[in-house]
Symmetry: C2
Subunit: 186 residues, 2 copies
DNA sequence: ATCAAATGAGACATTATTGTCTCATGAATA
DNA sequence: TATTCATGAGACAATAATGTCTCATTTGAT
């Protein structure tokens, strides 16, 4: 096999890390190991440094969000529909989103580039949806994208707090987005 | 005088701390001292612990946001107007908002209580504006409040990135909020 | 059942950060 | 001018987190 080390352990660490670090980026590796149900030594066998870990997590998070967005867009009828499917697909990845938002990653140019690419993709999708008439053409695309991101986060929070179900959160976020920035102003 | 220590130094530290910690909650005190243009020893003269500092900052942030919201609401014509004035008043306090959002403060019950109080005030204002017909009565108040917060953050980011002026950001956020959650659906 | 590989526990050294202290300097005040 | 007080610089100890290592145990595959 390519990686001789058991995948389950690695995945447990990664999953626990997203949960923990998305709430507290400064949490210690001991705490992470504990939450992952893994020894601290094992953690270091999989990730040499804290830097290595954080960097890996960032790339995974970006990759997963990217993949989820692509998959969601694949069978969409329009750019507007693709955007909605993307929203729906990204909300469950709130951990990843939160991790990327909270962890200070500016120093890392590789990651910054990947991050920028992901942002650009969202921007392009938003732009395309805008051209379809989903959004008011007078509203800056950058603002729409920011709101998209902000609503993504709000929806995830809402679900986490038990205020709404996944389906409800998607619906609320979508309504807020499209009515708030929609072409048909009252 | 009450505090024999010069206020300028203390304020420099606090201001630098909001800027720094709102971006990176894990930044070292050395870095903070440097940014504040102050010796590390001086920093410890004003704030015994890191905990003391963070706790103080949190209380200041909450107090300032509270005061700004109250002042903004004071001469408003309606609850809806008060909400808009509040939005406008809170955006410049994005540092404080970001600090409170990023710094892990759950452990501190005092601060958690104050934080909750601030949140409840916003909730009440939103609820009142909802009753005035500003928002669709079918949308949960909790969601509206979350969106309000999210847009506050987005507006601050937008200004920070130089994408829009203060006035433009307020306008965009307000439009997004009221049209997105407004009573008159298309 | 055997063997190789991964793991957990824990000791250990290293490092970064924190917090304390002293002393000399500069600024405000009387 | 003399005095008081805040400050900066830096030495220092204490602490917390990190990273490395060893060894016994467990797990999975053959």
């Amino acid at each position: 096999m390519n990686t001789p080390i058991r995948l389950n352990t690695r995945d447990s660490i990664i999953e626990a890390a997203f949960v923990l670090f998305s709430r507290n980026p400064g949490a210690s590796l001991s705490e992470l190991a504990e939450r992952a149900g893994v020894g601290r030594a094992t953690l270091h066998r999989h990730f040499a440094n804290r830097d290595d870990l954080v960097r890996t997590l960032a790339l995974i998070a970006i990759e997963e969000m990217d993949a989820a967005a692509d998959a969601a867009s694949a069978d969409a009828q329009s750019y507007s529909d693709a955007l909605r499917q993307t929203l729906q697909a990204l909300i469950p990845l709130g951990d990843r989103h939160g991790f990327l938002a909270r962890e200070p990653l500016e120093t890392d140019s590789d990651i910054a580039a990947e991050f920028k690419r992901l942002d650009r993709e969202t921007n392009e999708l938003v732009e395309a949806a805008k051209q379809e008439g989903l959004f008011d053409s007078g509203i800056p695309t950058a603002w729409i994208t920011q709101v998209f991101d902000a609503l993504l986060f709000a929806a995830w929070e809402s679900i986490k707090l038990g205020e709404s179900t996944n389906v409800q959160a998607v619906e609320l976020a979508w309504q807020t987005l499209t009515l708030g920035l929609g072409a048909t102003k009252k």
